[in-house]
């Protein structure tokens, strides 16, 4: 779609068709959408940095007693977020600890007293209309919300990142001004195996209305689009919201949630609105859309009431786990305690993944804590997971070209990357790669395409520095 159409916010609607990507078999999709609450862990490990940015500064010292929701580290720098205690007890240690990406970060370790006593919660109910945009933003930042994405950044930073309308040149050289005209709230999950957003879409949340109002106030979007999975109807609350909108500026688009990577921002915007996020380094706001998932919107709604984020909904799955489903877990719970409290392993795990099976990060240590940016925990058995090892050469079959959601030619790119021709790969669009793994998933030769792309990207970044 040419960018010029953006001046008219309601033109150029696509029909929600999306033929790229892969369709995940039904057995990978979540079977039940039930929520369980994980028991309180004996200790939590709270990394001071759970996002891309700078770590927070601790304001408590070893031996202090803390309550749930108490501020334990402040954000005294722009790119930092405050951190709150997620269980009540004693601050046992300030130490370095590994996070899920294998990076050592300073962390606070709290040992539980088992009481789960909260700080006093603010009683007054704040009406969203009485708060200005800057107050809303402050409250979002104070609650410590992080965007659950491949590159997790503080939610507040994401909201203001592309706030100023920018003038840029369209393909035919005309100047175009884009402003945010659409708020898109997605009830699709990052991956078809994940289910938090789809679960959220079934339940009535008082915070949702507030979250939407806050997002609209912050971005200036006039209309709202809910994106839902057509396999899991009905969506009563969303339908109510559509009916309640007198200006008829709210609608629901239902898509095939089993198609991956439809849940990622770039393909989603292409499918629903036909808008192409400029790649690389693009943002949905660049094409006039504020895109957040339902879980984030609801968390944002509760942050308006000054409730800090102490727990997180994650999907727990995989054949090696005794219990699967959606789990409400305190931030900082080590994955070992979480698995143990859910009944342990029912089978030998061959892979332990934080995140979904398609885009998550493999783990080897049970002490890694669940942080704010983690959407899921999977433990796959040997039968379920892909074994690494021998792979063949590319047979040029073109399956990867068929599935690539950003129209690259992954097979050819991977050959450049494997032969260290990173600049050539970059010219062919390497940096546009979303690392969704569709090409890897379908490759009949089992080539580690995503691995090669990440390696090449890293080499390019290092060469630039």
């Amino acid at each position: 779609m040419p960018l010029t159409n953006l001046s008219n916010p309601l033109s150029a609607e696509s029909m929600g068709l999306f033929f790229k990507g892969v369709k995940i078999p039904k057995r990978q999709a979540p079977i039940s959408l039930d929520m369980m609450e994980a028991p309180l862990p004996a200790r939590v490990i709270l990394p001071l940095r759970q996002y891309i940015g700078e770590p927070a500064t601790p304001v408590v010292s070893v031996g202090d007693t803390v309550k749930v929701g108490q501020l334990i580290a402040t954000a005294d720098r722009d790119t930092a977020l405050p951190l709150h205690a997620t269980i009540s007890g004693r601050l046992a240690e300030v130490t370095e600890h590994l996070d899920c990406r294998g990076i050592s970060v300073p962390a606070l370790i709290i040992e539980s007293d088992g009481a789960d006593s909260w700080i006093e919660r603010p009683q007054e109910h704040n009406d969203i209309d009485s708060l200005g945009p800057s107050e809303i933003l402050t409250r979002i930042e104070k609650a410590g919300l992080v965007l659950k994405a491949l590159a997790p950044i503080p939610l507040g930073a994401d909201l203001i990142a592309r706030d100023q309308p920018k003038t840029h040149l369209s393909l035919n050289g005309r100047q175009v001004v884009r402003r945010t005209d659409t708020l898109m709230v997605s009830a699709l999950d990052m991956e078809p195996s994940l289910a938090v957003n789809r679960y959220r879409a079934h339940i009535h949340h008082a915070e949702l209305t507030q979250g939407i109002a806050a997002l609209k106030a912050l971005t200036g979007a006039q209309r709202t689009i809910f994106v839902v999975d057509k396999h899991y109807p009905p969506y009563p609350q969303l339908a109510e919201l559509v009916a309640a909108d007198e200006q008829e500026a709210t609608r629901i688009v239902s898509l095939d949630g089993r198609r991956f990577p439809l849940g990622l921002p770039v393909p989603l915007l292409k499918a629903v609105l036909g808008r192409e996020v400029p790649l690389p380094y693009g943002h949905p706001r660049d094409v006039g859309v504020a895109l957040y998932d339902l879980d984030t919107t609801i968390c944002l709604g509760s942050s308006i009431q000054q409730i800090p984020q102490v727990d997180s909904l994650i999907t727990v799955g995989g054949g090696a786990l005794a219990r699967k489903g959606i789990v409400k877990v305190r931030i900082g719970t080590p994955i070992g305690s979480l698995i143990e409290s859910l009944g342990g392993f029912s089978d030998d795990p061959a892979r332990l993944i934080l995140g979904g099976p398609l885009m998550g990060i493999a783990q080897y240590d049970l002490s890694i804590p669940i942080t704010k940016d983690i959407p899921a925990l999977f433990a796959l058995t040997r039968d379920e997971t892909a074994l690494i090892g021998h792979y063949r050469q590319c047979i040029n079959c073109g399956l990867c070209v068929r599935v690539c959601p950003v129209n690259l030619v992954p097979g050819m790119l991977s050959l450049y990357c494997a032969k260290d021709r990173f600049e050539t790969a970059e010219r062919q669009g390497l940096l546009s790669c979303l690392e969704c793994g569709c090409c890897d998933y379908v490759c009949p030769s089992r080539r580690p395409l995503v691995h090669l792309f990440r390696h090449a990207k890293q080499q390019l970044m290092e060469a630039r520095q």
Binding site: P278, G344, R446
Partner: protein, 338 residues
């Protein structure tokens, strides 16, 4: 299996060190995402294409009898044997389980005349594997379709044996429809289109029954192992060219349907041109490749020495595959200026 019992280890939780857990994590694999894979493997891909060729092979055996079966069997067995032998001699990992050698042997047999002596498929299959595939480094590396390389070698070495065809159900020599029309355009009117489609004509083992080839081709297409671009563009290229000629002078140029069904066009469009290694991967590249292969086929038929130019045309176009791949799709979000 080392099951972890959550109950038995609860007491230890409180006194363990910061990183120590009572639970033992068995050996886990740590690698880049994705952690799950689809079901398509090279072997499955090849098997699907082989299944797609079964109708054509059965039709060939029905029409030309046990001779055709012997040719197919010799070709397949030689291809498998030669590949295994080379891999054993050069200490390579055996790849016969990926079924590519079987497919190569089968396809080669299907484009040979049923009249050939036993050593033709044997030499052909050996040439396909050695000269067509293994010298370049095996599956994935060869620039030309090995089946067609072998066919050309046989054709150039034993031209008269490769041009000797049988009428169906007999061992009496007959001309293929394309050979007949090349000698005398008026003979076109002696052919009935439906019987041409069903296989009542002389020709290579696997190409005579258009119905069987089409059935198998559509099967492979719907299984997703080939894409529609190359077959459609190929048929379009042949159809368009012959249609224009037909309009210009119906007396000397046969009809479009005759050109599509008279020779190896259907087998070429569905099985030889879309061969994964030697065909383009980008959508526009595939369309261009298929269309040009179709046009070349017709050029050879009209003005070349070979009555059925399909196999030569595909072989020529194989050389243009890297060029066709330059027609890349536009990556999303490109062309925007921030």
């Amino acid at each position: 299996m080392t099951h972890v019992k959550a109950q038995g280890s609860n007491e230890k939780t409180s006194d363990s060190e910061s990183c120590g857990f009572p639970m033992e994590l068995p050996n886990v694999i740590v690698s880049m995402s994705p952690h799950i894979r689809g079901e398509t493997t090279v072997a499955r891909m090849m098997l699907t294409i082989i299944i797609g060729l079964v109708p054509a092979a059965l039709a060939g055996v029905y029409l030309f009898g046990i001779r055709a079966l012997v040719v197919i069997a010799l070709s397949v067995v030689t291809a498998l044997g030669v590949e295994s032998a080379i891999e054993a001699l050069t200490h390579q990992r055996p790849t016969s389980s990926d079924l590519h050698a079987v497919l190569t042997g089968l396809l080669l047999a299907l484009i040979l005349p049923p009249s050939v002596p036993w050593w033709i498929p044997v030499i052909g299959a050996a040439v396909a594997i050695i000269l067509g595939k293994m010298v370049f480094g095996g599956l994935g590396n060869y620039p030309f379709n090995p089946v067609l390389v072998a066919w050309v070698v046989l054709k150039l070495s034993w031209a008269e044996r490769m041009g000797l065809f049988f009428a169906p159900h007999t061992t009496s020599q007959a001309l293929t429809p394309l050979m007949a029309v090349k000698e005398d355009p008026a003979l076109f009117y002696s052919y009935e289109l439906l019987s041409l489609f069903l296989g009542d004509k002389a020709g290579p083992i696997g190409t005579v029954c258009g119905l069987a080839v089409l059935t198998g081709g559509l099967f492979v297409l719907f299984k997703g192992m080939i894409r529609w671009h190359i077959p459609v563009a190929f048929l379009l290229g042949v159809g368009l060219f012959s249609g224009i000629l037909r309009v210009i002078n119906p007396d000397i140029y046969p009809s479009v349907a005759f050109q599509l069904m008279g020779g190896g066009v259907l087998l070429g469009a569905f099985f030889l041109a879309p061969e994964p290694v030697t065909s383009p991967v980008t959508p526009w590249g595939m369309l261009l490749f298929g269309f040009l292969a179709g046009l070349t086929t017709m050029v050879i038929r009209m003005w070349g020495a070979d009555p059925d130019g399909t196999f030569y045309a595909i072989l020529i176009m194989n050389a243009a595959t890297p060029l066709c791949n330059y027609l890349k799709p536009r990556p999303y979000g490109r062309g925007h200026r921030a």
